[in-house]
Structure formats: C-alpha cells, structure tokens
C-alpha cells in the first residue's frame, strides 16, 4: 500500500513538473493566449459550442487539476485504510457491543 501511494504521488508530481513545461511551449505558439470564451465563433450562423479548452494553457491547467485530484484521493485513501485497520482491530477486540 505504501509503495503504491508513493508511486501514485510520484506520477502526480511528474505530471505537475511536466505540465508547466508544456504550458510554456504552448504559450509561445500562435494560439497561446486564446481563452475559452474567445473560441466561441462570432458568426451569424450559430455553431456547436465545444466546452473542451482549445489552448494549451487551459489544457495544462486541467492536467494539473486532475493530477492534484488523484494525488489527494490517493493520500485520503491511504489515511482511510489506516482508519479501517484501526476500526477493524478495535471491533475484533469486541470493543463494540453490536
């Protein structure tokens, strides 16, 4: 469990480190500063609105968000596992009167 948590945290950290590099590379591109709102076409004929971020900055932000999310989930699960073990141990000692 400990090794898995370390691996998960390592993967998340790797993403966090790599993401700004990708972001920096993207910002130097021609579409780097476009925001999500600007991607909505300003044509007379309405078109389908795609919610997915188009530019690299927003894509990177999403990657970072997901990395942090899974890192947080991994850490919380690790602590929950400890709590489960403790609760089971107390239960096995017949602490509970259920």
């Amino acid at each position: 469990m400990r090794n898995r948590s370390i691996l998960l945290a390592g993967l998340a950290l790797l993403l966090i480190i790599v993401a700004p590099l990708v972001e920096a590379a993207g910002e130097s591109g021609p579409n780097g500063q476009k925001s999500l709102v600007q991607t909505t076409p300003e044509k007379s004929k309405p078109e389908v609105i795609q919610p997915a971020p188009k530019n690299i900055k927003e894509k990177t932000a999403i990657c970072v968000f997901l990395a942090w999310l899974w890192l947080l989930i991994g850490v919380l699960i690790y602590f929950l596992r400890l709590k489960i073990k403790e609760a089971d141990r107390i239960f096995n000692l017949k602490f509970y009167s259920f």
């Binding site: 309405p46 919610p51 899974w70 919380l76 929950l80 709590k83 609760a87």
Partner: protein, 353 residues
C-alpha cells in the same frame, strides 16, 4: 467544542435516537458484499446532482428564447460553468447506471424476498424517477436533438389506450412540444421530482434500516450464521474509499469529455437525422422500432407500449411472483433476468450502430 454543540443540539432536537437508529446496523460479510456499496454510491451521485443542479439553476432560464442561450452562457462565461454542467450531466448517467446495477444485484441475490418487498417497490420507483430526471433534463438545453427526442418521447404515452392522449397533453402542456413543455419539464426536473425522490428515498432507507441488510439465500435457508461488520465506522470507512474513487472517475471523465451544446432548436425545422435518447432509454427505443405497424388488428406501437408497461409491472411484482426463490421457479426467474439483461445490452448496441 464539537461535542458541546452536539449536546446542545441533541437537548433541543432530540436527534440521538434517530442517529442511533441510522448507525446501528450490521453489514453481512460474504461473497456478495460488494453489492452493498452500490446503495451509498447512488446517494453520493444524488448529492452531486443536487449541488451542481442548484449551481446551474442560478444561471439557467427556462424560456423558449433564453434556455439555449443561458446554457451557452453557463458554458462560456460563467467561471467553471462548463465543468459544473459536465459533472451534472455525467453524474446523472453514473447515478442511473449504479441504480440499475443496484437493482440487478438485488434481483440476482433475491434480496427482495420476504420481508423486503416494500423495499423493492420503493427501489423500483426510485429507478423510474431517476430515469424521469434524465428525460426531463434532456430537453433543458433546448437544442434540435433534445427537442426531437422529447417529441418522440412524449408521443409514446399517446399509444396507451384511454388515457394516452391526455398523458401526452399533460406532459407537453399542450398538443405539441413548445416553450410550455420546456417550463413544465424544468419544474418537474427541479421541483416535483426532487421532492418525490427525497420522500421515497427516505422510505427506502428507513425500510433498509428496519429490516437490515439481507444475507445470501443459501445461508438463510441453511440457517448459517453470517459474520457481520458494524455499519459505523467500519463499513462507512470502506464506503468512503469507494466514494473517493467514484468521485475521481466522475471528475476525470467530466473534465475530459464535457458535453457540447448544439444551437437553439427551431420549432418549425424538420427533425434532424439520428435522433437518439439517452443511453438508458436506447433498448426501449430500439424495441419500439422493432414492432411492425400492425400486429393482427392491433396497432403495433400500442402493442409495444403495452408490452413495455407489462414488463415494468412484472419488475415491480417480482417479489410476489418469485415468492419461493429457492425452488425451480426462482431459478427460472433468475435465468429470465439474465436473458433480459442480454436482450437490453443487444438492443442498446444495435441502437448505437
């Protein structure tokens, strides 16, 4: 400090007997224990639905002119609006999927047997309500596809003899799908259905607490003792792990596969090609398409709708039909359930092709 607040509240509200009742439960430990996790996962997704739904309702305008534009605004201008909409949309699919898994788990483990018939009935109602949530919510973005799918969906009850025409008119708020239908669906989606689902859910949870969780049929028949685990804190902690994983999967999918928004529907425009309802209605949609125009002297569509209604009635009456589940009849019903599952899967895939 927290203990003092708790005591203060308990003195005034007298909540401790209720809390004791809610927490005092043993969860049987056996080879089918994983089915028990589905129930609380439904509650998790329902909570997410309520929270994201409230956030969306701050900006959504249920009128013909503004519905599509307000969703577009949510997606493009409101901070994190597109994620909130995506989470709302995906969590509804997750919720219905888990409600179905929960129901199948109950069906195949025969947990609906005496004295849990009422629990099964309330669960069946909750499934129908979850699907009604999906159906009413599908129209709200007011694009061509949702308009056409609603036209098809609200036309189906018309085929029911005697009350059909009235039912369609009631759903639509008139003869056709218009702005009135949109407002009506919005009220159903945010007011009527949530109130009803919370009420029936309370009954469902109360019945689970009252009867406890069922043990496997074999163990019950042989009078075998099944080891139990305290609901609080042992099982709740295990459930929390499942919730966290589901939450992570939901957010990842919602962020990576956010739903798009088509232009506003034109009431005068012809129906677009490839009208399809949400995935959980696909097998019914395909079944309706399979029926011929006439079967002997009966209208094919009427027969199809009546067949579907009969299947729903069978599903509700299952605990009363399968009243001796350990006998041959019970086994035949189980095989029937598997057959239906295969049928639904085949029809869904066929509809997608």
């Amino acid at each position: 400090m927290l203990k003092k607040i708790g005591e203060w509240l308990d003195h005034r509200l007298g909540l401790s007997p209720i809390l004791k009742f809610m927490m005092k439960k043993d969860v049987p430990q056996h080879e089918h224990t994983f089915w028990y996790y589905t129930g609380s996962s439904i509650l998790l997704f329902l909570t997410i639905q309520i929270v994201t739904g409230i956030l969306l309702a701050f900006y959504y305008k249920p009128t013909l002119e503004q519905a599509n534009a307000s969703v577009a605004r949510i997606m493009t201008e409101v901070p994190l609006g597109w994620i909130i909409r995506s989470v709302h949309s995906w969590s509804s699919s997750f919720m219905i999927a888990i409600v179905m898994i929960h129901l199948l788990g109950t069906m195949f483990t025969k947990s609906y047997r005496k004295p849990r018939e009422a629990t099964w009935l309330s669960g069946g109602l909750l499934l129908i309500m979850s699907m009604a949530f999906g159906f009413t919510g599908y129209l709200l973005p007011w694009d061509d596809l949702s308009l056409s799918a609603t036209k098809v969906g609200t036309d189906i009850p018309r085929k029911i003899p005697v009350i059909g025409a009235w039912a369609t008119k009631f759903l639509r708020g008139g003869e056709d799908v218009t702005g009135d239908t949109l407002t009506r669906f919005f009220i159903f989606h945010v007011c009527v259905l949530p109130l009803a689902i919370i009420l029936i859910l309370a009954v469902h949870v109360f019945l689970i607490q009252k009867h406890g969780m069922s043990i496997p049929l074999e163990a019950e028949r042989k009078g075998r003792q099944v080891k139990g685990l305290p609901f609080w804190p042992n099982f709740v902690l295990r459930e929390s792990v499942v919730w966290l994983i589901l939450l992570g999967v939901l957010l990842t999918i919602a962020v990576l596969f956010a739903p798009s928004l088509a232009p506003a529907a034109d009431l005068m425009a012809p129906a677009p090609e490839g009208i399809k309802p949400e995935w959980y209605f696909l097998f019914l949609f395909q079944t309706l398409k399979l029926f011929p125009a006439k079967v002997l002297f009966v209208n094919g569509e009427t027969l199809a709708v009546l067949t579907i209604l009969a299947m729903v009635a069978l599903l509700f009456l299952l605990p009363f039909i399968d009243n001796r589940p350990w006998e041959k009849k019970g086994k035949i019903i189980t095989y029937g359930g598997y057959l239906f599952l295969v049928y639904a899967a085949v029809m869904t895939v066929w509809s997608l092709l």
